[in-house]
């Protein structure tokens, strides 16, 4: 009964997802469920396949095996128009913000509205300015080029772009990497606040435990291509799992050995 109930509210679900690049196995059967309205954070060291997992869900990479469900619909092998329809439910904040440097800030924010949904430019611009205000940026920023912004400002613009079209699901790829602690905290706050406003389901991947504790309802740990632990954020300090403990304490001693080659 509990299983059936969980299935009915799952927004995104991964079942036995596998992906390898040549001889290197990156995902080795990932099972993960994100409930509607939940904020799930996947932690794990560099090169453990966190980004690959997100790219598989978005269809940027194709899993070798397993299935991915969005709203109960199997999207694993969707292409073309059907894939675009699924992608309209998503917003994504990239690690390096990935702003289009050939376009001014406002067009970056409005891109999904103009290109993805065919909204008129004038209307999309108003919406972009409004969204920029929600991440604490004034309308004058809209006409700047992304290259003129600092890293923290670029993150905000990236966040604005991710939420501009009102997505149901938002992915955050290392949202605080490369920011100073204060800016990282500001971004974390912004994420928590804007996600509440939009009412979105979120999946974040990070190795920053401060950020994970702040934005997560639930935490899962990815190690060697598998989810080795998951549970509510409050339980992260009492897992009894040596891998999780080593990771959250950032200790060099423990079962996790750093692989030098990616």
């Amino acid at each position: 009964m509990a299983m059936a109930q969980a299935k009915s509210t799952a927004k995104v679900e991964l079942r036995g997802v596998k992906k390898r690049f040549g001889p290197k196995i990156v995902l080795d059967g990932v099972d993960l469920t994100i409930e509607k309205g939940q904020s799930l954070v996947v932690i794990g060291g560099s090169g453990t396949g966190k980004s690959v997992m997100i790219k598989c869900v978005l269809g940027i990479l194709r899993p070798d095996a397993g299935h991915i469900y969005v709203d109960g619909e199997d999207v694993t092998h969707m292409r073309g128009g059907a894939r675009d329809a699924v992608l309209r439910k998503f917003g994504m904040l990239f690690q390096g913000s990935a702003l289009f440097d050939s376009l001014p800030v406002w067009e970056n924010v409005a891109f999904g509205l103009i290109q993805g949904r065919g909204v008129a430019r004038k209307k999309a611009r108003d919406k972009a300015i409004e969204t920029l205000a929600r991440v604490g940026l004034g309308p004058e920023v809209g006409d700047l080029s992304p290259a003129e912004l600092s890293g923290g400002m670029q993150k905000r613009v990236g966040l604005a772009r991710a939420i501009a079209a009102g997505p149901e699901i938002i992915f955050f790829d290392e949202p605080t990497t490369g920011l100073d602690p204060i800016m990282a905290d500001i971004i974390n706050d912004l994420i928590v606040r804007t996600v509440k406003q939009v009412g979105a389901t979120t999946l974040s991947i990070t190795h920053d435990m401060v950020s994970a504790r702040k934005i997560a309802d639930r935490i899962a740990m990815l190690y060697k291509g598998k989810i080795i632990w998951q549970g509510p954020t409050a339980e992260i300090d009492s897992t009894g799992n040596p891998y999780v403990e080593q990771f959250i304490h950032g200790s060099a001693e423990g079962p996790i050995k750093m692989e030098v080659r990616a």
Partner: protein, 257 residues
């Protein structure tokens, strides 16, 4: 050490490369006809690929026409046939040198820029970002550049042809004692429509090659600044070689009827 292993690896890599390029080309060509087509981006790219290449292509065409006139005069002089300069200049420029010189200059100028731009977008995840915003990156980035190069190269070459012939005219009348009016009359009388058309067909093919190799190498670049550098080099080298190879093929097809 197994000496066959490296050979096998190289052969496999070659086939993988050829396969990827074929898939990329087929996808791009199909997408070029399926809406949405980004007209404003095609216009923007035509400006960058065609219009901004005018000075460099015009200059090279002028000097090529000039040097061609000089060489033909010197060579023709040995047979007492120096009067043939206008005819050979117009033939050489429209059939061969106009399209090839313009193609190579544009490959260096535009092919490199395309590969560097798209390559940087690849390594900074901008191409993935396009996908997540429900925009097909091939349609948004590759197709406009293909159309723009395909359309603007023939126009560019038509202009380069005129400037090249003018270069020959200037050198011939200024330092080789040709009569201007006779030079122009000989040029126009001798030139046929097919000389010009065949050159323009070549130009369109070269434009396609330049944009395709720039986009392909940029799209598949990886590993940061160095990867983008490699992509840029590969784009210029491969499109230059392909232009010269295609030029031979096209000449043998277009002129052996």
């Amino acid at each position: 050490m197994n000496i066959l292993a490296p050979i096998g690896r190289a052969v496999l890599a070659l086939f993988a490369h050829a396969g990827r390029l074929t898939v990329f080309t087929v996808t791009a060509v199909f997408d070029a006809f399926i809406p949405p087509i980004y007209w404003s981006l095609i216009g923007q790219q035509m400006l960058r690929i065609g219009f901004f290449s005018l000075p460099v292509v015009g200059l090279t065409a002028f000097f090529t026409g000039g040097v061609l006139a000089l060489q033909i005069y010197i060579g023709g002089n040995r047979y007492g046939a120096e009067a043939i300069v206008p005819q050979i200049v117009v033939l050489g420029i429209t059939r061969e040198l106009g399209p090839v010189i313009a193609g190579l200059m544009v490959a260096g100028r535009v092919g490199a820029a395309i590969a560097a731009e798209i390559g940087t977008m690849r390594v900074t995840e901008q191409i993935d970002a396009l996908t997540t915003l429900a925009t097909n990156p091939v349609k948004y980035l590759v197709v406009p550049r293909l159309w723009a190069a395909l359309i603007s190269m023939p126009i560019l070459v038509a202009i380069a042809d005129s400037i090249g012939v003018f270069g020959g005219y200037v050198v011939s009348t200024a330092s080789l004692n040709f009569n201007g009016a006779v030079y122009i009359k000989n040029t126009v009388d001798f030139m046929t429509h097919s000389d010009v058309y065949s050159g323009l067909i070549k130009a369109a093919v070269f434009g396609f090659i330049i944009a395709l190799m720039g986009c392909y190498n940029g799209f598949h670049s990886k590993g940061g600044a160095q990867g983008v550098g490699t992509a840029t080099t590969n784009a210029v080298v491969s499109s230059s070689i392909l232009i010269l190879a295609a030029n031979y093929l096209l000449t043998s097809v277009l002129f052996t009827k």
